[in-house]
Each structure stands twice: as structure tokens, then as C-alpha cells.
Symmetry: C3
């Protein structure tokens, strides 16, 4: 077994309680810095109250997403001992997901016309950490 | 770094506003055409109003899925400037997900007895594009 | 094309109708048994009524997750011929997801402080099968 690329950890500061952050150009910069041209970009976020996915980011759509995700969580009497108010954050992280794999072509993420790679902050503001692996 | 396999783009025409399309055999055909036997199949859909996942497709379950996904999106006054009616489509795409990794064994996708790989169309009919990467 | 690692299938018995099972140490044991140190762990669950994701598992949070997921599925007249009561199980499996990719560092899954890899059982108790691939 041969290990192809160094592991990379990026730190992403968030500024609101809940927000959708476009991290596409951060990742493109990382691919360029690694001189990585063709393959796959594997993302993994090291948290239980944040998520990673792709999204449309027409103005206001980030706030629409936060509203919709918040509204989807049923109001229940939750058990979570640390802070029951965090239960919705944890559930959305598990549901939206913490890993994402995106193709790389010509040194950039291959995305649809309106598609962006986003970090979804569910319990900020905090500094979030994401592991990035380029694999060819 | 060595690039193992060519990138492949497939086009998938959809025929309804919302539908669940079984793409398993399309992917098996692609593995056969590439003479690809063992490894992983990475899928990525290049859109913000479609998704890729696995599903049970007993007759009628595709329509059940569409009903349930549609019913999960809260009714809010959304901001999206292009077309607020699209907000639910975008949110479901981000939530269900746009990347999927499936093992390949003996030249075919490794799936459970009733499990199929599906494209979920949320704002069709359109021609959708999916990037397919086989990695060993 | 070169195939790096053998395919591994693990069996995970579940004990309840719906539950969240921590499989992190099972996977760490598997990495150790394979002498696998650095790379990625690709997981795929071979079922349509189970899912795999990451989660916070503070005491009670597993039950909170099950409550919330159950409460999110709209009550509709579903069509599924085998057993309409299963529709929610299938939808949650497709929505939470059946594939997950986690980095491996120093022979162990790289996770956040409170983050665990979990199998979500939606129609147990059963013995579940998961395909595990380590890729470097």
C-alpha cells in the first residue's frame, strides 16, 4: 500500500449561530497549492454540529436553507444531557452528512453551473476543522 | 501521483417534475465497458436540484419517496430571487446529497438484495449530468 | 489499474426496531488487523432500511435521533406493496445515506472529539452487512 498525498487540515472560522459558508475557492486554492490536477477531493468535517454538502447559493438561498433545516426538526422533549437545545444541531449534522467526495478536473473542483461546496454551521460561531484528501 | 482511470460523464434524461430513476444498470454497463472489476465507483451529480442515493424500488415506493420528501420541506416565505418555488428542490438536493460511493465486485455494483442506485429528480424534466469515477 | 486492499464485509447484529449503534471501535479494530495506517475508510451498508453516518452520542442522544428522524416523516397514505409501514424506514435510509468516507490517521479513524461512526437501524432487529474498503 502506497500513500499518495499528504493529509491536509483546513480551519474555517464561522461568524453566526447557523450559516451556510461557500468553501469552493478555499478548496480550489488548496488543489493549486498541491499542484493536484485530476482525481477526487474527499472532504470530512471533524464535528457533530456542522455538515458539508453542495448547494445553490443564489442570494438569500443560504438563509432559506437554514430556515428550512431548522423547521424540519420536530419539537420534542429531548434527552441530550449537555444541552437539549443542541439536539437539532446534532441531528442535522448526521442527516446532511459530514463527508463529501467531489471530482477534480484541470486542477479545480468539477461542479455544476450553480453548484458550490458548502460548510453548514449549525452551532456557531466557532472555528471548524475539515480534513481534505486529494486522491488520484 | 498517478491517474488511474479516465473521467466519465453520463447524461440521464428525466421525464417528470419529480421522480426517482434507477441508474444501476447504466453504471454496471459502464463498469463492463471500462473492463473495471474491483474497487469503488464514485458518483457526483452536477446539479443543485437533483440528488443521488440508494433506495428500495418496490412498485410505488418511488412515488412514496417523492411524496415524503415534498412533505418534509416546511412552508415558509423563502427569499430565493430566481424562483422561490425552487427552494424546496435546492434544499432536498443538499440534504439527500450529490455524491455517493459504491463498491464494485466482479465488475458490478455491490448492492443489497433490494438496493438500487437512484438519481432523484427534483425539478425536471431535464437532461442531468453525472460524473462517474472508478477507482481501484 | 492496481487493486490495493482486499474487500472486507462485516456483520453487525442489531437488537431493537430502531437504534443508533456506535461502530467506531469495530472499524478501528479492522484497520489494525489489516495493518492499515494512512488513507481513507469507505463504508457502504448493503440495505434499504439502515444507514451510516457520524453522530454525537452523549447519553440519550441516540434516542433523541430516533425520535427526531421518526417525527420528520410525513404521515401519508403510502403505496409500498410489501408493507406500507416500511416506507418511512426506506426514506430515512435514502436520506441519511448508505455510504460514508472517513480519513484514517495513524491506524485509526480521524474523528472530532465527540464524533462517532454510527449504523442507524430503522427496521430491526436484524443482522446488518457493511462493506469496508481501506484505500491509500
Amino acid at each position: 500500500m502506497q500513500y499518495n498525498v499528504p493529509s491536509m487540515r483546513i480551519k474555517i472560522p464561522t461568524t453566526k449561530h447557523r450559516e451556510v459558508l461557500d468553501i469552493t475557492e478555499r478548496l480550489n486554492d488548496l488543489a493549486r497549492a498541491q499542484n493536484f490536477c485530476e482525481g477526487l477531493c474527499h472532504l470530512f468535517i471533524l464535528h457533530t454540529t456542522a455538515a458539508v454538502t453542495t448547494a445553490d447559493l443564489d442570494p438569500g438561498t443560504d438563509l432559506d436553507m437554514i430556515d428550512a433545516f431548522t423547521g424540519m426538526i420536530p419539537h420534542r422533549r429531548y434527552r441530550h444531557p449537555h444541552n437539549p437545545a443542541h439536539v437539532g444541531d446534532h441531528i442535522l449534522s448526521s442527516l446532511i452528512g459530514t463527508s463529501l467526495t467531489v471530482p477534480i478536473v484541470n486542477g479545480r473542483l468539477l461542479l455544476g453551473a450553480w453548484q458550490r461546496v458548502v460548510l453548514i454551521e449549525l452551532a456557531g460561531p466557532r472555528e471548524r476543522e475539515m480534513e481534505v484528501r486529494f486522491a488520484s
